[in-house]
C-alpha cells in the first residue's frame, strides 16, 4: 500500500505532496530518539509531535510518511522542511489509538 492509498483509505488530510511511497509498517512514538532507534525504513510514523526534530528523525530513518493525530497543526516551517525532505505529512482529528486501529484494519503491522 502506498502512502497516497493510505491517506485516501483513512481519510487523512495531506499537508504537502503525497509522494508515491510504499508503507511497510507502522511506528507510533512521540519521542525523537525512540524513532531514530526503533522505527524502520518505510514505516509510517504516527505521532502528536509537530516539532521540526520529528522531520529530522523521520528523514534519518526514511519513513514513508508522518501521521499527526489529534488535529495537531504543524508550523509552516515544519511542512516546508518535510516537503524538501520528500516526507508526506498527513493530519487527522483522530487520536493515535484510533489511527493505530485503522492502520491495523488496513492490514499494516
Amino acid at each position: 500500500m502506498t502512502i497516497k492509498e493510505l491517506a485516501e483509505k483513512l481519510r487523512l488530510n495531506p499537508l504537502n505532496t503525497l509522494a508515491d511511497r510504499t508503507v511497510t509498517g507502522v511506528y507510533i512514538s512521540d519521542m525523537v530518539s525512540d524513532v531514530i532507534a526503533n522505527a524502520k525504513p518505510g514505516n509510517v510514523l504516527v505521532t502528536v509531535q509537530v516539532h521540526n526534530n520529528v522531520i529530522a528523525a523521520a528523514n534519518l530513518v526514511d519513513v514513508s510518511g508522518i501521521i499527526l493525530t489529534r488535529g495537531r497543526t504543524p508550523a509552516d516551517d515544519m511542512i516546508a522542511l518535510a516537503e524538501k525532505a520528500g516526507i508526506p505529512v498527513l493530519v487527522t482529528d483522530l487520536n493515535s489509538w484510533q489511527v493505530a486501529s485503522m492502520l491495523f484494519e488496513a492490514g499494516l503491522r
Binding site: R21, T22, D30, M31, V32, S33, D34, I36, A37, P41, G42, V48, Q49, H51, N52, N53, I55, A56, A57, N59, L60, V61, D62, S64, L81, K84, A85, G86
Partner: protein, 176 residues
C-alpha cells in the same frame, strides 16, 4: 549463514535510554550538557570544588553502539549528544545554508554534536566513527536518490547543545 541472510551490514545495539541534562554554574553562568543513563533525570544541584552546578533543562535521549556484522567490531558512540538536522538549526546559519543547498540535491545534512570538554572544546568524535554512523543510516535508506551525510561539528553546535537550544528531544517531553 546469519551474515548472508542479514539485510544490513551495520546494526544499532546496546541502545540505552536516558537524558541529556543541561546545567549551569551559579557564579560563572557557564553551561554544559551531559548524558545521564539514570531512570529518572537528575535535577538536584551539586558542588564541584568551589563551583555549584544547577539543573537547567532535560531532554530524553539515548546512547547506542553500532556493530559491524561482518567483522563483529563494536563502535560505541558515548561521546555523541545528538544529531542536529540542518533544518532544525536557525535559518540563515552556516549549517542551514549548507544543508539547504545539499537538500536540493537529495543530500540531508546532519551534524554529530558531542559534549563540551572542560577546556570548552567539543569532545572529539573520530572520523572513522562518523563513517560507521553514515554507513549505518545510508544502508537503510529506501529512497534510491536520497543520501544522509553526517558531518563533524565544525560549526560550534556543541555550544548550542550545551546551552539547551537545539537538543534532539528538547520540548518533546514537556508536550508544550
Amino acid at each position: 549463514m546469519e551474515a548472508e541472510s542479514h539485510p544490513y551490514r551495520y546494526d544499532m545495539v546496546d541502545a540505552r535510554p536516558g537524558y541529556i541534562v543541561v546545567e549551569h554554574e551559579l557564579k560563572s553562568k557557564a553551561m554544559r550538557a551531559y548524558f545521564s543513563p539514570d531512570p529518572v533525570a537528575p535535577v538536584e544541584g551539586y558542588r564541584e570544588g568551589n563551583r555549584i552546578w544547577q539543573h537547567t533543562a532535560t531532554a530524553q535521549s539515548l546512547r547506542f553502539s553500532i556493530r559491524d556484522t561482518e567483522t563483529g567490531e563494536l563502535t560505541p558512540f558515548d561521546e555523541l549528544l545528538g544529531l542536529a538536522f540542518y533544518g532544525s538549526c536557525p535559518k540563515g546559519s552556516e549549517v542551514w545554508e549548507i544543508g539547504d543547498l545539499a537538500q536540493e540535491n537529495k543530500v540531508s545534512i546532519y551534524v554529530a554534536v558531542t559534549g563540551e570538554t572542560a577546556d570548552g572544546k567539543p569532545a572529539p568524535l573520530a572520523t572513522e566513527k562518523l563513517r560507521v554512523l553514515n554507513r549505518y543510516f545510508n544502508e537503510r535508506l529506501r529512497s534510491k536518490e536520497k543520501k544522509i551525510l553526517i558531518l563533524p561539528d565544525r560549526f560550534g553546535l556543541y555550544r548550542e547543545f550545551s546551552h539547551g537550544h537545539i537538543m534532539v528531544d528538547l520540548g518533546l517531553t514537556a508536550m508544550e
